[in-house]
Symmetry: C2
Subunit: 510 residues, 2 copies
């Protein structure tokens, strides 16, 4: 056993070294998006590639494989949820995955993705899908090859989904999504038959400094700790982590639309609080990450939507917001404002979509990923298929590719497969987690209405954040809610909230 302890220590030292290089690379990425002058771009790409390669080499060192082999009996001797057992289990899973992909393939893929992203930044504004098409065909080919390294599989998308949402499969997700879709479509149709909500109060001139100050006040009250994080401006908001003591967020400000920055700050703060809440003992180890893309999104969406677009939240914060913007909001009632931030309408752009229609955007992308990977759909036919599906699912005609098939960066700066399901899984999980939190602490809404978020944050930290990657997403859902993943809490949440908002209680009853 003392031999096992020393081997475990050796393993940890090696894993921490790998994480040092990975986090250093994350710092390079953050700097690139925030403060790097244009002249730094060429060298930065090379430096980042070098660090990736070093991290990969160090992680796939056969010495790590030997340690993992030697530690098997020790792992078996421990309870499943012991930290050491989880560490060895997760490290082995990631080690085996890393070994399956040849480093030169990874390098080719990275370089293709970087070039593709560059091309996309020009092709999207130019509405030029034709320019992207050969590129996207190459991406599809590489995505398929990547999946092949993990053969055999049930569905070719499975290994790619597994990477983001461990343990999930195309078949299980398709089943959940089909169920969700059948519930959502009628809800969206009922709402669409009502007068569209008026959000013009959000579309006034809102100076940046005041938006920033308000958002900082909100996320500080949520519990985002500025001694262990910070917020900067970037073109696209994101969360990034350099250690469990330094988890940063970024945002963007639209002075003509209040809905952009404050909700994006809450969203990213939700991601950040997840990482900041992970058990400090896991620092630098593979356990020190959120459980999955879906689990992560559950936390960003929980704080952004379930809290940040809720009535109790605005009960407390609306007077404060009005104090920041007396001219703009002095004459707008809480009721009107609440309706504005929860306006449901069928729109073209996923990232602008409301809580209800959002999942329709995600699910059609997920379906396209399966169809492309299976070969049922050719890249050349994608724009047309996209338009058709937006017509069917959302009842709107996409006037161009810019705001159609070119709108999301995912396929142009990443792979095809596994890129989107996490968003909807996150919405589903968020409601299921919230239901569990409310069962434990029914007074949370009342606390929120007083601007108090400590009980909710503590509950989330203890139950969801602390274990990090110790459990699979399915295990996490089971442990937290006592149930397998289910769309019911989510649908119930939507029915209640939007039934009330649109005065359509009756229509939503089964």
């Amino acid at each position: 056993m003392s031999d096992a302890r020393s081997k475990l220590q050796d393993l940890k030292t090696r894993l921490i070294e790998v994480s040092d290089v990975e986090y250093a690379n994350a710092i390079l990425g953050w700097d690139q998006s925030t403060y790097m002058p244009a002249g730094g771009a060429a060298a930065r790409a090379r430096q980042s590639a070098t660090l990736s390669q070093i991290a990969h080499e160090k992680f796939t060192d056969p010495a790590i494989g030997r340690l993992l082999d030697d530690l098997w009996p020790y792992e078996e001797s421990l309870p499943y949820d012991a930290d050491d057992a989880a560490l060895i289990r997760v490290a082995r899973r990631e080690y085996e995955r890393a070994l399956k992909v040849p480093p030169d393939f990874m390098a080719r893929l990275s370089s293709h993705m970087a070039a593709s992203y560059q091309l996309w930044t020009a092709a999207r504004p130019a509405n030029d899908f034709a320019r992207m098409q050969p590129n996207l065909e190459k991406t599809l080919e590489l995505s398929r090859q990547l999946a092949e390294f993990f053969a055999p599989y049930e569905h070719i998308a499975d290994p790619l989904i597994d990477w983001a949402d461990y343990g999930m499969k195309a078949s299980t997700i398709s089943a959940i999504f089909a169920q969700l879709r059948s519930e959502l479509i009628p809800i969206v149709e009922v709402i669409a038959s009502q007068p569209i909500a008026d959000d013009s109060c959000l579309r006034q001139q809102y100076p940046e400094a005041e938006q920033w100050a308000f958002a900082v006040e909100v996320i500080k009250r949520f519990g985002y700790d500025f001694d262990r994080g910070r917020m900067d401006k970037t073109h696209h908001p994101f969360m990034t982590k350099f250690s469990l003591g330094d988890v940063r967020i970024t945002t963007r400000v639209d002075e003509g639309y209040l809905g952009e920055m404050i909700f994006s700050a809450m969203h990213e703060a939700g991601h950040a609080m997840y990482e900041l809440g992970i058990c400090a003992d896991y620092e630098g180890l593979p356990l020190a990450h959120g459980a999955s893309a879906g689990a992560h999104e559950s936390q960003s969406r929980l704080w952004e939507n379930l809290v940040g677009r809720s009535r109790p939240f605005w009960n407390f914060f609306y007077p404060r917001l009005q104090a920041f913007f007396p001219q703009q909001l002095g004459g707008v009632s809480l009721d009107a404002f609440y309706r504005a931030v929860n306006k449901v309408h069928r729109s073209l752009i996923r990232t602008d979509a409301d809580e209800v229609t959002y999942n329709l955007h995600v699910m059609l992308r997920f379906d396209f990923e399966l169809a492309l990977l299976e070969g049922r759909l050719a890249v050349a036919d994608l724009p047309e298929a996209w338009r058709a599906r937006y017509q069917t699912d959302l009842g709107i005609a996409s006037p161009d590719d810019r705001d159609g098939v070119l709108q999301d960066v995912h396929w142009y700066g990443g792979i095809i497969g596994g890129s989107f399901q996490g968003y909807t899984l996150g919405n589903i999980m968020a409601a299921q987690f919230q239901q569990a939190a409310l069962a434990a602490h029914p007074d949370i809404p009342a606390q929120i209405a007083r601007g108090e978020f400590g009980v909710l944050h503590d509950w989330l930290r203890e139950n969801i954040y602390r274990p990090g990657m110790k459990f699979t997403p399915s295990e996490l859902v089971e442990r937290v809610s006592g149930q397998p993943l289910s769309i019911e809490p989510y649908i119930a949440y939507l029915r209640t909230k939007y039934g009330e908002l649109y005065g359509v209680w009756g229509s939503f009853l089964h």
Copy 2:
């Protein structure tokens, strides 16, 4: 020869990889000083140490030694000043140096320096040399050990000096400094016998935003390119480089003293323009650095003092400065302002010292380094020796250690030996370089008086910046000025400028 070319390519690839890791580490350092939240400190120290170690391992890879051996005949076949010859020569010099220091010693030294620096940040404000003494004794011991790895040497300080100012020795520097001292002391005494200049105009309330805007205007006109750099705030100003396309500076602002930020910005911009002017072909290679600490300081001091405290400079910029600060400077004449920014007075703090007395601060530190390394002076006796020397050289009594022996970070965050001579070598070189620039372009002062810095900047770029480390500092001085390093241009500069300023022409004549 095609074999040599492929080996050279291999060497370059390896050296660039090392630089990628080193520059990544520099980004970590920049972030730590500018934006990192407090919670990131612990992990950051570890991440930075990991990158240092990886860079060291990669650089001391025996494969690099073999390539350097194999490339010897190729190097010999080239002219001395061919880029490839210089690359192989400089890489070999640094490789051999790196090999001489055992990695575990380097790790011990780094960790001691980090701990010592932490201790100093508390001990200096507490005026507590006793707390630092055992630490400094350890630093001295480690500095001696470091030097021993390079035995035999003429003087134990030589290897440490050589690290910063390649090719320089304690004996040559002592000789130059003795000569400089004998010239400086009488100049300082004559000035001290005159009424002290009035710089109260600098000590008013100067809001940060305007100071910042003015400094940016100045350094942009100098030619510091904000597309390849940026300026941020830090506790101590510095320049740092992540590639030849991304060279950043930092500054600090004292709203109660105009002299701090604007000159520090010019100083750091001088360092940055040096790096930005290095031949782009050297990107990522050992040639892509300034020739030495002294050569680097020559450029920061040239822009800060020879340009930034000159009459032609203020002829152009003073009206602009007045426009930024009409209340503070509207009633202050150019003459009075020019005298204020060139006030000479014997003071306690090196970094606050004027152009004339500055070198006295440096030279006594240099002498102390030699005495400590030789064992002629014990660390315990240093504070007393410090006070005595300030009395002798500057005629002032140091009231405490805080602003005495504890004032500079160098010995507390670094080694003893080679830390200070570069500042005075830089002043000497700056005047020698300026003399050569003026010989080539006598109209430079007139251009400066019109706010035009292009001819000077181009001349410096072509003659000093472009070659990077291709030449040793002595070679550089010879090539640029046609003379060996000499204090004469510097003394002539001081005599002319301060003779005129203090109306003491006669006293300065030999």
